[in-house]
Structure formats: C-alpha cells, structure tokens
C-alpha cells in the first residue's frame, strides 16, 4: 500500500510516516501542495492521501480538488489530517472529494480507526459497537 503525506510540518510528516509504516504503508512525503503535485506528475501513485488543511502555498482544499481532477487517482482515498475544527470547512472538503477527516492531535489509535473506516485495515469498533 502506498500513501502520500502532505503537511508543511516536518513533525507531522515524521509522525504520520511512522504510524503508517507500522501498518505496512510505503510513504512519500511532501512539504506542501506544490511539491506534492510535482511528485504526482511521475509514475508513483498512492492509494491514500493524508492532507493538511492549512499550508503556506496551496490549501488542503485546493489539493483535494487537484487530486480529484486527475482520473488516475479516482480510486484513491483522501484523509484530511488537520488542526482545523470548523465543521463547515470539513464539510466543504468532503464535498470536494475528501473521504474522511482526522482532527489533530493524531495518535496511533485514532489514525488506525480512520484507516479502518477507509478500508485499509479491519475496522475497529468504537465504544458504541459501531
């Protein structure tokens, strides 16, 4: 499984890479949307994108739209990983083509739960048996 992590924070790129690597993902990182789009111009095609919202160059929303505009990523899943807690913005991202969102702080457990929801791992039941 291949994943691309796009976040302007080196800390978040390392944290997410570590957690994803523990689940067997091959991870490519980009420090911003421009760098991500340049990397995606090549042959490497991730099945999963983890995108920050608030970045200096291209916003996460713009990046969602750019990824969804490329037919070869039509089957890829997009997970917004963000400190942004405005639900209106998150609905906007989901409407633009993101599949799920994960609000920071990220830990192994909440990321694993989202990977389960996205179909990469067996789903984890929460306390409500869902």
């Amino acid at each position: 499984m291949r994943a691309m992590v796009v976040d302007d924070s080196a800390t978040m790129r390392l944290v997410l890479t570590r957690h994803l690597g523990a689940h067997g993902f091959e991870v490519l990182c980009a420090g911003g949307g421009t760098e991500a789009l340049e990397a995606l111009a090549g042959d490497w095609a991730p099945e999963l994108f983890l995108l920050d919202w608030n970045m200096p160059d291209i916003t996460g929303l713009d990046l969602v739209q750019a990824v969804r505009a490329k037919p070869r990523f039509a089957g890829a899943k997009i997970l917004m990983v963000t400190s942004e807690t405005d639900m209106g913005l998150m609905r906007h991202a989901l409407g633009a083509g993101a599949d799920e969102y994960l609000m920071k702080p990220v830990n192994a457990e909440n990321l694993r739960a989202k990977l389960g929801l996205l179909g990469f791992l067996p789903r984890v039941e929460d306390g409500h048996g869902r």
Partner: protein, 174 residues
Amino acid sequence: MGAEAFDALDAVILAEPAKMTFREAFGQELLGPEDGPAVGTGAWLSGGIFFSGDWAGLLRVDLPLDLAKEVAGTWLGADPRGLERGTVMDAVGELANTVAGLLKPALLGVQAMSVPRVAVLDRPTLVADRSKIVGATLRLDGRCLQVSLWKCPPQFRMQVVPKPDPANGASFRP
C-alpha cells in the same frame, strides 16, 4: 463580539486544549492551571499562531528548551539528545498549531489561523496586562510551560510572510 469573546476566556479554558494535546498525542497529563507565571532558567521556545476574523489574537505556547526536546523526542519516537534544533522548533510549532485548533471553537468570531511561527526566548512570555492577555501556567514532570492568548489591536491585520528558517528562529511581528 471580539471584546466579549476574549473577556469570556480564562486560564481553565485556555489550559484544556494543551492538556488534551499532551494526553492524546503523548499519553501525558499536564497539571494545572496554577497561579502565577511560568518560571524557569535557560532558553525557551515559543510557538505562535495568529488568529483572525472579527477580532485578532495570538496564541503562544512557551516551553523550556529541555522540555521542548523531550516533547519532540516523544512525538517522533526519537532520542531527544540527538534532535537538531530545527526539528525541535518544528515540533513546538506543530504543538502550538494543534493547541490552537482545539482552542478555536472557544474563540467566537475567529475564522482563520496562521501557520506556526517559533521564536527562541530567554524567558517565557510575560503575562502582565490581563485586559489584553490570558495566560495558563501548566506543569509536566515539575517543569512549567505556558499557554497565553494575546488580543491584538483592532488595526492588526495578519500578514502572509515567508516561513522563516527554523534554524534561525523567528519573532512575532504582525
């Protein structure tokens, strides 16, 4: 709206996002808030996030350097002694970013957050004028850290500036 939103904040409200971040991200429990400013010798790192919208503010998370290194080491699963300064500063910026995101729903009238800036200080932010600054002193393993929210003057407008080189630090200039 801006004045009322800011005046409704107190140290307990300010502390909770930091406590949640340490609990969820690191499995650590911050104690506090406690009375009095944060104290400690040596260098401090201050991560800052500007808020904008109906009013403008600046959130700062100040940690002593040794605590900042440990936080970065825990977060990255690495030995803090081997971390480069730029790596530690980036972690402090991301810490401030996470705390700011959790605090934002309590800041009525705020719409946008900046990307983080990190500065090197010789002491924690001085929380003096209570009409303009709300501060919370917290403690981890006997060491202080401080979260503070500054109300920016009405004419303040957040400027987009290039992200500074973390190796050189940054200052908080609107």
